[in-house]
């Protein structure tokens, strides 16, 4: 009985894992095919090669895009988490008028269709010289990640037992020490979780990257992939796209592997505890 149940769960687990990972597996196989056999429709390559990977790293376009992606995503994450932490701290600790308004506004902005910002920003950025620059992408990312970050962080901060701070001060800690040694460690997991979510958002974005950049100066990987030219005018860039896609997927898989608990906590904190 127990063995049968275990086998049943094993089967279910296997189905879930296969469904979740199969498309990634397919892309990986595709990226390892020889360019000449890309279109043969076989799942497992008939001959293995790293030519596609070599191909993309030889291209300046991809290397630059990778640097842009990493830089823009990291900067966005840092700015968003710092500002959101300040806002969320205020929301969690202080009573002030308009507190609910901030949270509601955050939610409303999160619902705003991003594509609606593309037009005005495109026009505006060209006029003030932010088109095709890093800040030109970081600013719209702020627009969409700050509300999310404030929302998730205030859910986390509300759970922190703030009395501990006073308790530490009674025990002789200075205000600074109380914050550094007691509150900061308690707040760190929430901030870390928020950082992961913001990073995933910035790393993921295609719409803004595609419409607000035009050259390797600021183009991020998702936009670069979509615009990949073939090796020659007549060849499909399928292999290069597959290889580039695998490269940008690696950080995501690493994050998921190490921080799955945090990601789940962050997603559900924003939505349910809110």
């Amino acid at each position: 009985m127990a063995a049968r149940r275990a086998a049943g769960w094993g089967g279910i687990n296997a189905i879930v894992v296969i469904c979740a990972l199969f498309p990634v597996f397919w892309l990986l196989m595709l990226s390892l095919k020889k360019p000449s056999t890309i279109t043969d429709g076989r799942l497992i390559p008939s001959s293995w090669s790293f030519e596609n990977y070599k191909g993309i790293f030889d291209q300046d376009v991809f290397n630059r895009a990778l640097v842009n992606s990493i830089g823009i995503a990291l900067i966005s994450t840092v700015i968003a988490v710092v500002f959101a932490a300040m806002a969320a701290y205020a929301i969690a600790r202080l009573e002030f008028p308009g507190k609910r308004v901030i949270l509601t506004a955050s939610l409303a902005i999160a619902m705003f269709p991003p594509v609606a910002l593309v037009g005005p920003l495109y026009n505006l950025w060209r006029n003030i010289g932010l088109y095709n620059t890093w800040p030109g992408l970081i600013i719209p990312y702020m627009t969409f990640t700050l509300p999310l970050a404030i929302y998730v962080l205030s859910a986390f901060f509300r759970e922190i037992p703030w009395d501990l701070e006073q308790a530490a001060q009674v025990d002789g800690a200075t205000a600074g020490q109380a914050f550094r040694k007691v509150i900061a460690p308690l707040a760190a997991p929430g901030m870390f979780t928020t950082a992961i979510l913001v990073f995933i958002f910035a790393w993921n974005d295609f719409l803004f990257a595609f419409s607000l950049t035009s050259t390797t100066a600021a183009q991020t990987v998702p936009a670069a992939i979509a615009l990949f030219p073939g090796a020659s005018q007549f060849s499909q860039p399928t292999g290069s796209i597959a290889a580039a896609a695998m490269v940008v997927t690696i950080p995501i898989i690493v994050m998921v592997l190490f921080f799955q608990r945090r990601i789940v906590a962050g997603l559900t904190a924003g939505a349910v505890k809110g």
């Binding site: 687990n13 894992v17 498309p23 037009g119 005005p120 896609a245 995501i252 799955q260 990601i263 349910v272």
Partner: protein, 274 residues
């Protein structure tokens, strides 16, 4: 935050009232609601509107069912929870563009996909001549990418269901099925609504995957966001594009309002203060 969101939004509304066409930059005359009339009387807007509704409706319903199953599996699994959660998070975290390319390459026979071969299809499911299959690919991609998100939100609700209730019902002779419908679902209702709301709004704004799968110009599956993008950046008609943006925003607000009104207090208590 106000600066980067409110300003573009207002600017967008303003643009939508102008004849702002980048091909005629000097001719920024005030045209009142003419852009809206142009959009609303154009068959292309309504065509894309119904496409969007169709994609949203089908993918969110499928996601709800699959997400519920996945949530139940994650909740009840007697072993391998970590593995399931990790693999389920991969589709969530993966770059949308990458996901879209993975599915497109798998289905497109001209790009060496194995699916047409396996299913013995003599046509190309990604070609514009096969509207039905275009939808299948787009919706399958959406479902694969976002079911984990749905499942995690549902899982958070599922953990709120007290075990004692199930035990009591079991003693009273309720079947598994009865317990699911009479106990689990009513208690989870708020979580289900939040998950549905989030996903519906997201699906309604779908851009990345449709754009990639259809190469940006497949009229069969063009959604309102893709139309918006093309109007802005391909046809450079900022006025009309801005009008479309505002209309999309109005649709999103209506959807959100319907959810909130339809389900009343349960949602308010869920998203408001605890």
């Amino acid at each position: 935050m106000l600066l980067v969101t409110a300003y573009p939004i207002l600017y967008n509304v303003y643009l939508s009232l102008l004849r702002a066409d980048l091909r005629f930059p000097e001719d920024n005359t005030w045209v009142g609601l003419n852009n809206y009339i142009t959009v609303l009387t154009a068959s292309v807007w309504w065509r894309d509107f119904w496409h969007t509704i169709l994609i949203t409706g089908v993918s969110v319903s499928v996601e709800l069912v699959l997400g519920m199953l996945l949530a139940l599996v994650m909740h009840r699994a007697i072993f391998g929870r970590g593995v399931i959660r990790t693999s389920a998070l991969v589709p969530y975290g993966i770059v949308t563009v990458v996901a879209a390319f993975a599915w497109r390459f798998a289905w497109s026979s001209s790009e060496g996909g194995f699916v047409p071969k396996v299913l013995g299809m003599s046509f190309d499911p990604v070609a514009t001549t096969e509207p039905f299959w275009n939808y299948v690919v787009v919706i399958a991609t959406e479902v694969w990418k976002t079911t984990p998100f749905m499942a995690l939100l549902l899982l958070a609700g599922l953990t709120l269901v007290p075990d004692e209730l199930h035990e009591a019902a079991k003693v009273d002779g309720a079947s598994n099925w009865q317990r699911f419908w009479r106990i689990t679902i009513p208690i989870m209702k708020p979580a289900i609504l939040v998950a549905l709301l989030f996903r519906t709004l997201d699906a309604f704004r779908v851009f990345d995957s449709v754009y990639i799968i259809s190469n940006g110009n497949n009229p069969n599956v063009e959604t309102v966001s893709v139309l918006n993008f093309n109007e802005l950046l391909t046809r450079l008609n900022l006025g009309v594009g801005a009008a479309i943006s505002v209309l999309i925003f109005i649709c999103v607000v209506i959807i959100a309002a319907l959810f909130v009104k339809g389900f009343g207090t349960s949602l308010a208590t869920q998203t408001g203060e605890d």
